[in-house]
Amino acid sequence: MTPRLRFEAISKRFPGVNALSDVSFDVAPGEIHGLLGENGAGKSTLLRILSGVFRPTSGSMFVDGENVSFRKPMDARGAGIAMIHQELQQVPHLSVAQNMFLGHPLTTVGGLFVSRREQERRAAQALSMIEPGIDPAAPISSLKVAQRQIVEIARALLDRARIIAMDEPTSSLTPSEFERLAEVITKLSASGVTIIYVSHKMDEVFRICQRASVMRDGKLVGAVDVQTASHQDVITMMVGRELMQEQHVSHATATVKLEARGLSSLTKIRDASFKLHRGEVLGIAGLVGSGRTELLRLLAGADRLTAGAIDIDGKTVNLRNPRDAISAGIGLVPEERKREGIIPVRSVTINMALASLGSFSKAGIIQGGKLRNTAEDLLRRVNLRPFQLDRPIRLFSGGNQQKAIIARWLASKSQILLFDEPTRGIDVGAKAEIYHLIEALAADGHSIVVVSSELPEVIRLSDRVLVMRDGRIAAEIARADLTESAIVAHAIPGANTGRPPAPAA
């Protein structure tokens, strides 16, 4: 049988990084095909090539045996490929139907007028196949994330998509919403639509996919038959080395460095209290939206407290903005590096020095020599590669950008470092380096908080883990009791009294 989709030796180069090299595999019609890999393995890049956002540097793609080459996303759409992004790309104040017909509205009188009624009728028709409860005239912003995802799927059906690619569709879904989505996907597959299901969550892939391709560092490392493979096999393929099995060494001391007392905020944090010790790595786990990032932003002075207090070295500090937090010795390594971390066009040196320019200046003039010496020293310490200090930071790989941000807080002599998803969008090699850096910083006496969605990462790094749920700290788990199922049991609403969700394999 002709495969529905075939990748043949696809490669994609970006400045400073080989995002994909020589990726080839086939997917059959009606197959639910998992695409597994760590963050930065190249899954998203491959999807972007499939959906016409990027053009491959080399290699070719075939849809139903026909060689296709997309110049823009509309081309891919025309070839029957629909993409459902992790961050749903919808216009919030337009209606469900308007969003479904975005970019190619149904018109009357030769294209002069949009026919909203007809759009809504057709939208309702498409929705009725999978989720009849959604009103096509409702504004999309009134729907839950899971429903919005269904709308995207219905939109793909309207386009008569033959291939639907889903990028981490469950990152903000509850387990019951996932079940609903799994049903919809199975139904689509039975009607002959091919699904590419991208995830780094093994359970889900084992639950709904028939086969899976595993990627690592931009390469295809293997295909897995989900019926026969074990979780452990796949993890080894994904990670590629014993990264997660390395011995955990704790440098925690008994000295309390920071104490949070009853923190609340308008950003949903409620009554959060905890202590952070000198030399400790404190993990924070929880579902997306449980308030992990918001808690870090409170500590970093980026959001305001409505109640509670933060003590550092036993003294209460008032953090009105990040400047206050920085002078109190707190530095944030944010999750969205591009948006909140780097100044893209400026050099890696300036990005490193940004939080402490005052200390490099005399009489208001920056001392170039002093800045350069510190940059050489610190950026070598974090092992920046390539070691080009005047190069704009946007030309570095994600891992090296992250190292520069870490160096920023070394330059400002911060004692408390807050990491939000420290390895998101970073390849596996750099990931190990970031882990080792975090450990070295803790060994140096820094106090560290790590927020991560990747449970193996939290477990690998943390001396102690706080689990958040609905803006509250739901549980504290000591190193000795730290397992994935223990974290999950506390992270899911209403689950801490019941059983942890049954593993599907």
């Binding site: 980026a302 944010p334 940004l354 320019l357 005047d390």
Partner: protein, 326 residues
């Protein structure tokens, strides 16, 4: 690992950084040279020393405004109110001079008024959170109205010679306005390249969210840019009324457009985060050269406007094409 190769690497590049003659500035300079070469073949005497000095003098007012505009644009903003700011400052300075205020005091007052206008813009942008385009569009009308109301719409005539000689003289054969603007440009260059404030401007314009998380004082940085822009608008108006001997409340009409054009030709990105002092000066000289050359060729004003517009568009297209290859 041996340190020497890395050290050699890092020693080389700062040398270029220090002279700060970027590829983009070189492009602007080439543009200027080409335009001059064209006029040199078409207009006899175009390259005479006298005409070249003339071009610099004619470009000085726009260059002065454009320097402030560059800093505002780098910070991610825009200042449409420079013309009316200049007008308010001009009519108040002129009135003070006529009422017998000592010249240095009147100059300080004029610059102070300009900076106050900029401060208001900055506060509305940084603290009230309005968009720079809208804020300065609003103050564009407001400041103009204030200048008109203050003078009843009449020009302030008879500015004393003591003041005028400051801006009309020569030093070493170079007109004072050119020297003043050269000093301002040098100061702006130092500000942008050598001080934390300069880095903050680039950071805020380059990525405000990241700058905030890194502890950059966002509001203070933005306000600084608008205050400098207002102050330089006032300085430009002083140069002008020194030359004319009169201050009109309608002075500075459409100045903002020339200033933005000079900054953009010089490589400032209206998205913020990018801009060059040297480039802006070259951009202002390019515009001045066009006007001078076309006037000498007796080209009608309509066509001069056309040529200026085309130069801006061509410069931006070249800019876009070269950046696309990065």
């Amino acid at each position: 690992m041996s340190n020497s190769p890395a050290a050699a690497d890092t020693k080389l590049s700062p040398a270029f950084g220090r002279f700060s003659f970027s590829l983009r500035d070189a492009g602007t300079l080439i543009g200027l040279v080409v335009i001059m070469a064209v006029f040199a073949t078409l207009v006899p005497g175009f390259l005479s020393e006298r005409n070249l000095v003339n071009i610099l003098q004619q470009s000085s007012i726009n260059a002065c405004l454009a320097l402030g505009m560059t800093l505002v644009i780098i910070s991610g903003g825009i200042d449409l109110s420079v013309g009316p700011t200049a007008a308010i400052s001009a009519v108040i300075t002129a009135t003070l001079l006529l009422s017998g205020t000592p010249v240095p005091l009147a100059i300080l007052a004029g610059l102070g008024i300009g900076m106050a206008c900029g401060f208001i813009n900055g506060v509305l942008v940084a603290y009230v959170g309005l968009q720079p385009f809208i804020v300065t569009l609003g103050t564009l009308s407001t400041y103009r109205a204030l200048a008109l109301i203050y003078t009843g719409g009449n020009p302030v005539l008879g500015i004393p010679a003591g003041f005028r000689s400051l801006f009309n003289g020569n030093l070493f054969g170079i007109p004072m306005p050119v020297l003043i603007v050269a000093v301002v440009a040098l100061a702006a260059w130092v500000l942008l390249k050598k001080t934390p404030i300069g880095e903050y401007l680039l950071a805020v314009g380059g990525n405000e969210e990241a700058a905030y998380v890194a502890g950059v004082p966002i509001a203070r940085t933005k306000i600084t840019a608008y205050v400098i822009s207002g102050g330089l608008a006032a300085l430009a108006s002083l140069i002008l009324i020194g030359r004319l001997g009169a201050a009109e409340p309608i002075l500075g009409n459409l100045w903002e457009l020339d200033a933005i054009a000079a900054a953009a030709i010089g490589g400032a990105s209206l998205m913020g985060g990018k801009g060059s002092i040297l480039g802006t000066i070259l951009g202002a000289i390019i515009l001045g050269t066009m006007r001078n050359g076309l006037t000498l060729m007796n080209v009608q004003a309509f066509y001069q406007l056309l040529a200026t517009g085309l130069i801006i568009l061509v410069a931006m297209m070249i800019d876009r094409a070269t950046r696309g290859r990065e």
